[in-house]
């Protein structure tokens, strides 16, 4: 995660702010709802961040305190344009939420009890569920390469979704298992590191 890109992008900080403002404006249903949008805008469309790098950034964003969406915007902004990029992306991510809540507090409108608003959000959350699921499947295709990663992914879903184990505990478990494999299974370590090198040297997909 170096703070430099191959080619300078004009007005990068302004673009970072604008992109995250647009994403922040439509992040309904929690921080993870941001991921399909980030994937589309930052990875697929603008190609600012590679898909594998994005997964690592999300891993970091979840392991750090604070809202995952805010953490992700800071990491991506920093990756592309250093500290000022981090600030630009974070402001873009936070300001839509800030203005909308301020507007609601100022008008003291009980908009959440309006039936049309409720129906609208029934639809929005159904779509967000589908989009997050698609993102998870897409990322699983990149990440799950062998039985160990398959077991880890399935175990994480079962522990968090059905046994309500705290996300941080599961992340810690994944990191410790990775660490253990490094010390106990050198052959796998060589294999995985070799694969990572090949991916970094290969053409950008």
């Amino acid at each position: 995660m170096q703070g430099k890109t191959a080619q300078p992008i004009p007005y990068l900080r302004l673009k970072l702010f604008g992109t995250f403002f647009r994403i922040g404006l439509f992040t309904f249903g929690g921080g993870f709802a941001m991921l399909p949008l980030i994937e589309r805008e930052i990875t697929d469309h603008k190609k600012w961040v590679q898909a594998d790098e994005l997964i690592d950034m999300i891993a970091l964003a979840q392991s750090m305190p604070g809202p995952v969406a805010v953490n992700a915007s800071i990491l991506i902004g920093r990756h592309l344009a250093g500290t000022s990029g981090a600030v630009a992306a974070m402001l873009g991510c936070v300001l839509p939420s800030f203005f909308v809540i301020l507007a609601i507090a100022l008008t003291t409108a009980n908009f959440q009890t309006n039936p049309y608003v409720q129906q609208f959000f029934t639809g929005v959350l159904a779509a967000v569920t589908a989009l997050i699921l698609m993102t998870a499947i897409k990322m699983a295709r990149r990440v799950v390469r062998d039985w160990i990663t398959a077991v880890l992914a399935i175990a994480a879903v079962i522990l968090v979704a059905f046994f309500r184990v705290h996300a941080l505990l599961v992340l810690l478990g994944g990191a410790v298992i990775g660490l253990g494999l490094f010390f106990l299974h050198p052959a796998l370590t060589d294999h995985v590191t070799g694969r990572a090198d090949k991916q970094q040297k290969g053409p950008k997909s």
Partner: protein
């Protein structure tokens, strides 16, 4: 002045000590706010409901709201800055450290273990949102009771309009690669229109 400082400090602590994002942060936010008497329990329940229907992380939503209710627009700015500042400072501190060891096999292996867990967490988020968005779950209802309802009175167990939109989003997203924003807005409109049918 001391109120502004209190707001900043309180939300700074929330930003610093809440891990896992979203709903995992609610208990800490709630105890901080109720402890100070900034909102009543009912008001806090309201803000959680509003947060679901407004964009952005719930921590930011509640910081802005509480800040405004206690100290006006300046208060909302101070509280929002407080809740996001720990993220910014910590990440700027840690990210440089992390990227220095990015090529080390130890790093590769830690992330080899982390990445599938992250994918699992994302899938779990879909399960959590789907649980409120697609089905009718009575409070503390067990999975078995829910299945029992599903077979006896299917319409009491699911939200047909939402399930239809869910399925349509999967198909349209897969086939036409539309921008998620278009899908989200379209799904919202479909939610309003489908109420006339179901």
């Amino acid at each position: 002045m001391s109120l502004l400082f209190e707001l900043f400090y309180s939300f700074f602590r929330i930003g610093l000590f809440s891990f896992g994002g979203g709903y995992a942060m609610i208990p800490l936010i709630q105890s901080e706010i109720l402890h100070h008497g900034w909102l009543t329990a009912d008001q806090f329940a309201d803000i959680v409901a509003v947060a679901e229907m407004t964009p952005g992380p719930i921590a930011v939503n509640s910081a802005t709201y509480v800040g405004y209710m206690t100290a006006g627009v300046v208060g909302s700015m101070v509280a929002t800055a407080g809740v996001t500042l720990p993220s910014l400072l910590l990440i700027l501190l840690v990210a440089g450290f992390v990227s220095r060891y990015q090529k080390h096999p130890l790093y590769t292996m830690v992330f080899y273990g982390l990445r599938p867990v992250v994918v699992g967490l994302i899938a779990s988020a879909a399960v959590f949102i789907g649980k409120t968005a697609l089905v009718h779950l009575v409070e503390n209802q067990s999975l078995r009771d829910w299945f029992a309802t599903l077979f006896r009175k299917p319409l009491d167990a699911i939200q047909p309009a939402a399930l239809l939109i869910f399925a349509a989003t999967l198909v349209v997203h897969h086939k036409f690669k539309l921008h998620p924003l278009i899908l989200i807005m379209g799904a919202g409109l479909a939610g309003i229109l489908l109420q006339f049918i179901f």
